[in-house]
């Protein structure tokens, strides 16, 4: 490496051929371009944050940090708080990941590891990519017309019948609410979860698997103690990307969450999410404080995304650290 670098920066002492000179200047141009591109990302991020915070200022000065714990959202009295949509955003994303993580990982393992149904891999992979490409509004339409009646008439009554003693499944199911929204989000993040996990699982070196098998481990043991720990970081990435999509998803959630400003322990209850409030109300929002509060919600959404991402990373580092220590 160091030799290669030396060759590149120190040209032949006396006269550099024109060809070499061109290479050097080409390198420089490319270097400048790469730095500029990286800098541009920083600039875009900074401009974005500033553009979000400045219009939010009337609301930030009026409500301060109390915005995060207030349950009121009343445009008539000009009183706003973000607690209800924060709760809705977190609950629906959590449901989505709880459903999508095991299914996604299972599907990824099947696609990457199982050799028996090899002919299925091609069509399945194609379908997954197709699923990832479906616009969210189309998923929303499907959920609005097909999924919600199904939830109301079949799934919710079944859950209530079986687990009705839990506060999670109390109340009258309408088909619109946290559970349906979480399910829709799960469907939307599954393709990301599967495709990314499959790729990282496939990237686990063959030597490691063979070593494990040679030591007498079964297929399942190999997957559990060799493949998954190795692919851990990649799978974490898949989970975080899925989470990012779930937190920010707007239109499909708006169509099935029920858009009610309430916090309820029941998953059948309708609620609200941060992006849904913004999407619903910005067109008719008049007045600095009202509009500012919607921008403030945008700031909150960015913050929630950052906090959740950091927490998820910490959790996984801790968890994987513990696994390593135990092993």
């Amino acid at each position: 490496m160091s030799r290669g670098a030396a060759e590149r920066v120190v040209p032949t002492p006396l006269v550099a051929s024109s060809h070499q000179r061109r290479l050097v200047s080409g390198d420089r141009i490319f270097g400048v371009f790469a730095y500029a591109a990286a800098l541009l990302i920083l600039v875009i991020a900074a401009v974005f944050i500033v553009a979000l915070v400045i219009p939010a200022l009337p609301a930030i000065t009026k409500f301060g940090l109390g915005f995060f714990v207030s349950r009121t959202w009343d445009a008539v009295r000009n009183e706003f708080g973000a607690l209800v949509p924060i709760y809705g955003t977190l609950v629906t994303s959590a449901i989505a990941l709880l459903i999508a993580f095991p299914i996604g990982l299972g599907a990824a393992l099947f696609l990457a590891e199982d050799a028996r149904l090899r002919w299925l891999r091609g069509p399945l992979s194609f379908l997954i990519e197709l699923l990832a490409g479906i616009p969210s509004v189309v998923v929303g339409l499907w959920a609005f017309f097909i999924l919600t009646p199904l939830m109301r008439d079949k799934v919710d009554p079944f859950l209530q019948h079986s687990f009705g003693f839990l506060p999670l499944f109390k109340g009258t199911p309408t088909g619109y609410g946290f559970l349906t929204a979480g399910l829709v989000l799960a469907i939307m993040v599954l393709p990301i979860m599967i495709a990314l996990s499959r790729d990282v699982i496939r990237a686990v070196p063959r030597d490691l698997r063979e070593a494990s098998l040679a030591l007498g481990a079964t297929n399942a043991e190999t997957i559990w103690s060799v493949v998954l720990p190795y692919a851990r970081i990649g799978i974490t990435g898949a989970v975080l990307l899925s989470l990012g999509r779930a937190l920010g998803e707007t239109i499909a959630v708006t169509m099935v969450i029920g858009n009610t400003m309430q916090i309820s322990a029941s998953l059948f209850a309708s609620g609200y999410t941060l992006p849904s409030v913004i999407a619903n109300e910005f067109t008719e929002a008049t007045g600095n404080v009202y509009l500012g509060s919607l921008f403030y919600l945008g700031v909150v959404l960015v913050l929630v995304t950052i906090v959740v991402n950091v927490l998820a990373r910490l959790l996984i580092w801790r968890f994987s650290g513990a696994v390593r220590a135990a092993a």
Binding site: T72, V76, P149
Partner: protein
């Protein structure tokens, strides 16, 4: 299914419009090339329709509530005067007011006239002319098996009770008292409302605040309010669909959506105590009860009169009194003059109501104050048709 056919219909109209706009642009270019820009208007002889507007391209933005009417009217206007291109963006009242204030559009549209604060931002109360452009009415649509269209009777008291969440079941004694002869089921009421800010919500909550002191103190009037009960859906179409989907549901929707989807709607008790089924005629009847309507006194809900539809309201258009571009300004006032007179005949097709004649007169008088460089753009000879 009905929703889909509705959407398709709109798409057809949209594509027709596109073709028409293309033709208009072509015609305008031709006209300009021939130097055929007439510039000034001919003095009116036989009513406002005799005006010939100059070639111009106008843009407007705002309310979604009256958008179907504006589209239908524009289509008809362009068949007559192809030299005027009108581009209306239904982006919502709030956005419409903002775009007008920033002078990004030639006219704004809103279901609620601009208030004092908004007018100050736009250059003062005298800077902007606001005219009523159309009249709409709302229905309470429901989904109850065995209770056919118009059979359910609602009074101001029960409507407020349902939306406040104090009446929770269809077999509530208060509802039963008004509905003798109809068997109301023992079924929970699912209340549906708009989740997006909308003029439809403004008119409905204005009505509730007028008829219920409880509503006025607890919730109030607005395009978006803190609902005590129920679930929200985005847009009239989604509310309508959710009502059709959900047994036991009730919600407020624009009349057009009820009629186009054949939903059951309640018969509503008006101020005089009569039960009426909302209709465009009922809206006109309600509006004609209020003679002195202006941008600060514009509420016509709970109108007296035998046939008045109780949940009705105007939609408004705003433009600057001082038009910097004379040609554009002339075309704009000519178009708006046509819209509030001849254009009103296109309201019925899309289930909006005709403006009452006193409002048309007010509108034309307001339009006469629009000027460019100090000279009025609408000829003083223009009067409202009697």
């Amino acid at each position: 299914m009905e929703l889909i056919s509705l959407i398709r219909k709109e798409e057809n109209i949209a594509s027709m419009k596109r073709v028409l706009i293309a033709l208009c642009v072509g015609a305008a270019v031709l006209l300009a090339a021939c130097g055929g820009n007439t510039g000034a208007t001919n003095p009116s002889t036989g009513g406002p329709s005799a005006l010939t507007p100059p070639a111009a391209s106008l843009t407007g933005a705002g309310a979604t509530f009256p958008a179907p009417f504006y589209d239908a009217a524009r289509f008809a206007y362009n068949q007559k005067f192809s030299q005027v291109t009108i581009n209306y963006q239904a982006v919502g009242s709030g956005a419409g007011i903002q775009q007008l204030t920033k002078k990004l559009v030639d006219f704004g549209a809103s279901d609620v006239p601009m208030n004092a604060k908004e007018l100050t931002a736009a250059g003062g109360a005298d800077a902007v002319v606001q005219i009523a452009s159309t009249l709409g009415t709302e229905s309470l649509a429901y989904n109850l098996s065995g209770v056919s269209n118009g059979r359910l009777k609602l009074t101001p008291k029960t409507i407020a009770g349902i939306f406040l969440g104090t009446i929770k079941n269809w077999n509530d004694p208060l509802l039963a008292a008004d509905n003798s002869g109809v068997t109301l089921p023992n079924q929970a009421i699912t209340v549906l409302h708009r989740s997006d800010g909308s003029g439809t919500t403004y008119i409905f909550t204005d009505y509730l605040s007028t008829v219920s002191a409880d509503w006025k103190t607890k919730v109030g009037t607005g395009k978006s309010v803190a609902w005590p009960t129920g679930q929200g859906a985005q847009g009239n179409a989604a509310v309508a669909t959710r009502i059709t989907q959900t047994p036991g549901a009730i919600g407020y929707v624009e009349l057009a959506y009820v009629l186009q989807t054949n939903m059951a709607q309640a018969s509503l008790q008006n101020h005089d105590g009569n039960f009426v089924i909302p209709s465009p005629e009922g809206a006109t009847a309600a509006a004609s009860q209020f003679l002195a309507i202006n941008p600060t006194q514009f509420s016509i809900v709970d109108a007296p009169g035998k046939t008045s539809a109780p949940i009705s309201g105007y939609s408004w258009l705003m433009l600057y009194k001082d038009q910097t571009d004379k040609t554009k300004g002339t075309a704009l006032v000519d178009y708006l003059d046509w819209l509030v007179t001849d254009g009103q005949q296109y309201a019925a097709n899309v289930h909006y109501a005709k403006l009452p004649s006193n409002i048309v007169k007010d509108d034309i008088n307001s339009l006469k104050t629009v000027a460019s460089g100090g000279s009025p753009l609408l000829p003083s000879s223009v009067t409202a048709p009697s």
